[in-house]
């Protein structure tokens, strides 16, 4: 668990273990007994559960008093002072918040029906050691089904009591009703609701499990707080509903070897997160993550995620991945991108930093950035992706990537953007490829490559964008693409670029090829046709445009763009009507197209669509 929740919990711990008078006054004010909840003290190395009348009754206590020691950290201050799990502690003054090393104090432990004062000295638990817990010993017995029912019809009224007495293999079945306790989960048990819609867990703190072991949750509805797992071996969450408010995390995992969430609904509010994993293995499938103000799923610090067939709806960001790996397939991510809203910024469908990824058949809709990948040294694979109705489709910053068979459509700015970061560019050249993809109707540029080495654009349909392909001061190959109907330019190559342009059909744009004469380029076998820089009289031939420099008498250079520039037409270039089946919707070639028999470089066909045999 991160430091922030720890600090918060310690502070809450102090509040709960107030002197009895203060607690009684508080209870009077609230009219309702405070539901049980767990607390953690890093200075003492123990987990404590507050006790109310219901839990006291479940545990067979005479009265609600102090806190129940759930577990102590092996070698921690509490452990060294001889405090045992299952004991009742009290007398914890608010000014004795033991979070530091070496702070001396006392704590009362109920032994033989009398409070015994124990002196101890705080000893801050080291990171990682906090999961080495000693739990209350439970007499050995065969696993069984344990019924919990708030109305008293089951074995227990509280989950805490059931947990405390559980042995590995127990199935704890929650009956219909409202559960308000913040449970501390024990390993080896399975919690199941009788009917998910009727089992409503509404605690004021998360349900937490710490330390090795397995646990399974199914058919439960959490409302208000979620669940957390630290250092757990295996977690299964099935057929659950988890709804959290502002700034909360629905499912938290740290150091969990395997967390599987399936067939569940995880909803949130402003600044909430659906699933947040640090150094954990996560599998989410067939689930809905919705309305999270921060992100639906976050995989950080060496996590490994497998996401299958989830619906991520109405989240600020979809999946955030840092220093981790993710394999996501068949997910639909729908955000709330609104170009008119001033608050839209940094909202991602997929955001990956220094991470490996294979993303297959995911639909990202209405996220400001559909896919944003940064600092991926090994190629990120994005296959059959859809990115639409955002500001940017796929953005690759200083990353290697292989993108194919994707649809990047109707984004406000660019469909596909590749660049190196302004600061700390990658040491060696990286390669990005975009193949067999449709890039259509993006506001500014279909494909925008900025100062990058190297990019391969092959067999793509680039249709009706602002500019089709911009190769800006970059190295690349643009081959066998069908580039049509751009509002401005089909392919634009700037001066400091080094490109190969072959076998492309560049037709019906305002400008076909806009080439800076300073660029290093080899071109040929392109069909450049019907590019008109004006759509009314007088027509302007925009097939080839030269970006040149006029040198003044004083030696100053002024950029001039000149068209038509027939000298840019390669000897092997064609200028014929490609004969599309239906321009606007089907850019495969008619059987009688003059290009059907045309052979391009390497005797390959022209454009993105292989002619029918």
């Amino acid at each position: 668990m991160s430091n922030l929740p720890r600090r918060l919990l310690v502070a809450l711990l102090a509040l709960v273990l107030l002197p009895a008078a203060a607690a009684a006054q508080q209870q009077q004010q609230q009219q309702q007994p405070e539901p049980p909840r767990w607390f953690w003290s890093s200075g003492l190395g123990l987990y404590v559960m507050s006790i109310n009348d219901v839990l006291a009754k479940d545990l067979g206590l005479e009265r609600a008093h102090g806190g129940l020691v759930l577990a102590v950290v092996r070698g921690g201050a509490a452990d060294l002072a001889g405090i045992k799990p299952g004991e009742i502690v009290s007398g914890w003054a608010p000014d004795q918040i033991w979070t530091e090393d070496g702070k001396a104090g006392t704590i009362k432990v109920l032994r033989d029906k009398r409070d015994q004062t124990i002196a101890l000295t705080s000893r801050k638990v080291a990171e990682g050691a906090d999961r080495n817990l000693i739990r209350a010993a439970v007499p050995a017995r065969a696993p069984r089904k344990v019924a919990v029912d708030p109305s008293g019809k089951g074995d227990y009224r509280t989950v805490t009591a059931a947990m405390l007495r559980a042995v590995p293999g127990d199935e704890i079945v929650l009956g219909p009703g409202r559960y308000t306790e913040a449970a501390f989960l024990s390993p080896g048990v399975a919690l199941r609701g009788t009917e998910r819609a009727l089992v409503r867990i509404e605690p004021k703190a998360i349900w937490l499990m710490v330390g090795p072991g397995e646990i399974s949750l199914s058919r439960l509805t959490f409302n208000g707080r979620g669940v957390g797992f630290e250092g757990v071996d295996k977690v299964t969450v099935t057929d659950c509903t988890i709804a959290v408010p502002d700034k909360q995390t629905a499912i938290f995992a740290s150091g969990v070897k395997s967390l599987a969430v399936s067939k569940s609904t995880v909803s949130g509010a402003a600044d909430s997160i659906g699933l947040s994993a640090f150094g954990s293995g996560v599998a989410a499938s067939d689930s809905v993550f919705g309305n999270h103000g921060t992100a639906a799923i976050r995989l950080f610090n060496g996590s490994r995620g497998t996401l299958r067939s989830n619906l991520l709806n109405g989240n600020w960001s979809g999946v955030l991945v840092s220093d981790s790996t993710v394999d996501a397939a068949d997910n639909i991510l729908t955000g709330k991108f609104n170009p008119d809203a001033k608050t839209d910024h940094n909202a991602y469908g997929f955001w990956l930093s220094k991470s490996g990824a294979t993303l297959t058949r995911n639909v990202v809709r209405r996220h400001e950035y559909g896919y944003y990948v940064t600092a991926a040294a090994r190629p990120v694979k994005i296959v059959e992706a859809t990115a639409t109705q955002g500001r940017w489709g796929i953005v690759l910053i200083g990353s290697a990537a292989e993108v194919s068979d994707s649809l990047l459509m109707q984004n406000l700015r660019d469909g596909f953007y590749v660049a190196n970061p302004d600061k700390d560019p990658p040491a060696g050249p990286l390669t990005v490829s975009l193949t067999r993809s449709t890039v259509s109707g993006n506001g500014t540029r279909g494909i925008n490559v900025q100062k990058f080495r190297s990019v391969i654009l092959r067999e793509n349909l680039v249709e009706a964008n602002g500019t089709g392909v911009l190769i800006a001061d970059s190295t690349g190959i643009v081959e066998n693409n069908t580039i049509v109907l751009q509002r401005t330019t089909g392919i634009y190559v700037t001066g400091a670029s080094d490109v190969e342009l072959f076998n492309n059909i560049v037709a019906f744009n305002s400008y076909g090829l806009l080439l800076d004469v300073a660029a290093k380029r080899s071109t040929g076998f392109n069909d450049v046709y019907g590019n008109f820089a004006s759509k009314s009289f007088p027509l302007r031939d925009g097939n080839y445009t030269r970006v040149d420099r006029y040198t003044t008498r004083d030696g100053e250079k002024v950029r001039v763009d000149v068209y038509p520039a027939y000298d840019l037409k390669a000897d092997t270039d064609l200028s014929v009507d490609p004969g599309f089946v239906k321009s606007g919707t089907d850019y495969s070639l008619k059987p009688d197209s003059p290009l059907v028999r045309a052979a391009g470089r390497n005797r390959k066909y022209l454009g993105a669509y292989e002619p029918a045999p």
Binding site: L311, D330, R361, E463, R553
Partner: protein, 549 residues
């Protein structure tokens, strides 16, 4: 895209989901009824407009039909297919959610107690919200009806034109709109349609924005006795005035120019016939037919003479020649050079044509023939407008708003938005040299005139540029010898016009029989378009020099 597998997989999700979120952005938690107040068991679920699935069935059937129409192609994924697959998934999820809604409603009816009934009703409401959100994700958010105009108020303004990208449309709407837009784009950019439209708009021909007019008649600075002027002739290639018993030679003039000047001025070969289609006190438009010169716009002061009573509809002959212009053709980026007078294929034609081309070379710094930048260092005397603009001090801060020119009214005719640069003689003054006893040009200057049909059409710096060209004509002749030839031609024409103005008889025989050298004069030339990078003040942007490596 292997969308079928995708569909199957996500359909599993749909079946598996027990509770879904409101997809339309609604809140998850519905408020429970106050304690003690029982919600009606059959309370209508929020947003549940449909009690059956007819709408879903219709959507699914429509998708199936659309999917059948999809072409099978080998190449990049079709956007139609991808969007239809996604829509189908959403529709199936909608269908499933409706079923779950109905199940929850049934459970509420069969609940053992009111508390359980409330839980199920809440579940049903969530399902209904979810279903509505799903439906909107397919067909879009319903638009509120327009507000009726209130008394005394104007009717509600129509909504702004929709942008090309809709961000909150349903997938179905998006697909329809995307197809509509791309089909529309394809139609608008169809070369056949564009060329047809251009031919229509070409109409009677629009004369291009530039040219040469050699309209000037020389003035004679030396008083002559008109009674003694008997005639004129060309002897040994020199134009002479028969003055009493004297023969006074005119300055040496290029015989080819002289012959053509005589043919134009005396022989009427400089006349262009047509119909006046527009006239103002300072300019006129003469329609000559698209196969001739098109609609020629001319400044009256650039004609040797013009009737003050001209009016639209008059059929007239005007003396445009010798001169040159250009006609933008329906073919893209193509100009047809229109030679006024018998100038095709001869030296005068070449001189006037190349002089006209100097304008474009000056403005953009590129060669008219190649489109490549001209190197001033390799072209003595050449300066472009870019050089001039960069040498001109930056303009003062923007003028107060009050001083700004009002925008021009929309043009009704093409020429009202056009401007022209015309080379023409400024002063042509002859005098009798007491030393040689021959006529000589006391002054022979050329100028560039920038003008537009309406005030405000020409940019301010066009006037500045025209003045620059006028002031530096002599320098420019070093870079463009055609300009020197043009001046020589202007002298010849001015001298002949003087004769004509003074009704001096001149035999045409020499001019008609003079063998002109064959010179190539282009008929069709590329019309280059040049875009110069400019800053906010309109000045050309100088590229930063590369840092030394």
């Amino acid at each position: 895209m292997s969308s079928q597998s995708k569909l199957n997989r996500v359909a599993v999700v749909a079946l598996a989901l027990v509770l879904l979120l409101p997809l339309g952005g609604g809140t998850f938690a519905q408020p429970s009824p106050p304690p003690g107040q029982k919600a009606p068991a059959t309370a209508p679920a929020a947003g549940a407009a449909k009690s059956d699935d007819s709408d879903v069935i219709e959507i699914i059937e429509t998708i199936k039909q659309e999917q059948k129409k999809l072409p099978v192609t080998k190449g990049p994924p079709s956007k139609e297919k991808a969007l239809l697959d996604e829509t189908m998934w959403r529709a199936q999820l909608l269908e499933m959610t409706r079923k779950q809604q109905r199940d929850a409603e049934q459970q509420a009816k069969a609940a053992k107690n009111s508390a359980e009934a409330q839980m199920w009703q809440k579940e049903a409401r969530l399902k209904a919200d979810t279903a509505e959100g799903l439906k909107q994700s397919i067909v879009g958010t319903p638009q509120p009806p327009p507000r009726p105009a209130q008394t005394g108020q104007a009717a509600q303004a129509p909504p702004p034109a929709s942008r090309s990208i809709e961000f909150n449309s349903g997938t179905f709407q998006q697909l329809k709109e995307a197809n509509r837009q791309s089909t529309n784009d394809a139609n608008q950019r169809d070369p056949g349609q564009l060329k047809s439209r251009a031919t229509t708009e070409f109409g009677s021909g629009r004369a291009g924005a530039g040219g040469v007019a050699l309209h000037k008649t020389a003035t004679m600075q030396t008083p002559l006795d008109r009674a003694r002027i008997k005639g004129a002739a060309v002897e040994d290639g020199r134009l002479v005035l028969i003055y009493g018993d004297q023969k006074i030679k005119f300055p040496v003039l290029e015989p080819q120019f002289l012959a053509l000047a005589i043919r134009c001025v005396y022989g009427g070969e400089g006349m262009v016939a047509g119909t006046i289609v527009a006239v103002t006190p300072t300019a006129l438009v003469l329609s000559t037919g698209k196969d001739l010169y098109g609609e020629v716009v001319w400044k009256k002061e650039l004609l040797p003479s013009v009737s003050p009573t001209l009016k639209a509809g008059d059929k007239v002959e005007l003396e445009f020649g010798p001169g040159v212009g250009a006609l933008s053709m329906p073919e893209p980026s193509t100009n047809r050079i229109t030679y006024y007078g018998p100038l095709k294929g001869n030296l005068l034609g070449k001189a006037v044509f190349e002089s006209d081309m100097v304008f474009s070379m000056f403005w953009y710094g590129i060669h008219w023939k190649t489109g490549r930048p001209i190197d001033p260092a390799a072209t003595p005397g050449f300066v472009s407008a870019i050089d001039v603009e960069l040498k001109t001090p930056k303009p003062a801060a923007a003028k107060p708003a009050a001083a700004k020119k009002p925008p021009l009214a929309p043009a009704k005719n093409w020429w009202e938005d056009s401007g022209w640069f015309v080379w023409n003689p400024a002063e042509m003054v002859l005098q009798l040299s007491p030393k040689s006893g021959e006529f000589e040009f006391a002054k022979a200057t050329m100028r560039a005139t920038a003008w537009g049909w309406r005030d405000g059409v020409m940019r301010d710096n066009s006037v500045v540029e025209a003045k620059y060209l006028t002031d530096h004509y002599d320098e420019l002749t070093r870079a463009f010898p055609a300009l020197e030839q043009l001046r020589e031609a202007a002298k010849a024409v001015a001298a002949v016009r003087w004769l004509k103005q003074n009704k001096v008889p001149l035999d045409l025989e020499w001019a008609k029989t003079y063998k002109l050298a064959a010179v190539e004069t282009p008929e069709l030339v590329p019309r280059f378009s040049v875009y110069v990078n400019r800053d906010d003040d309109g000045r050309p942007i100088v590229e930063k020099k590369e840092a030394s490596r």
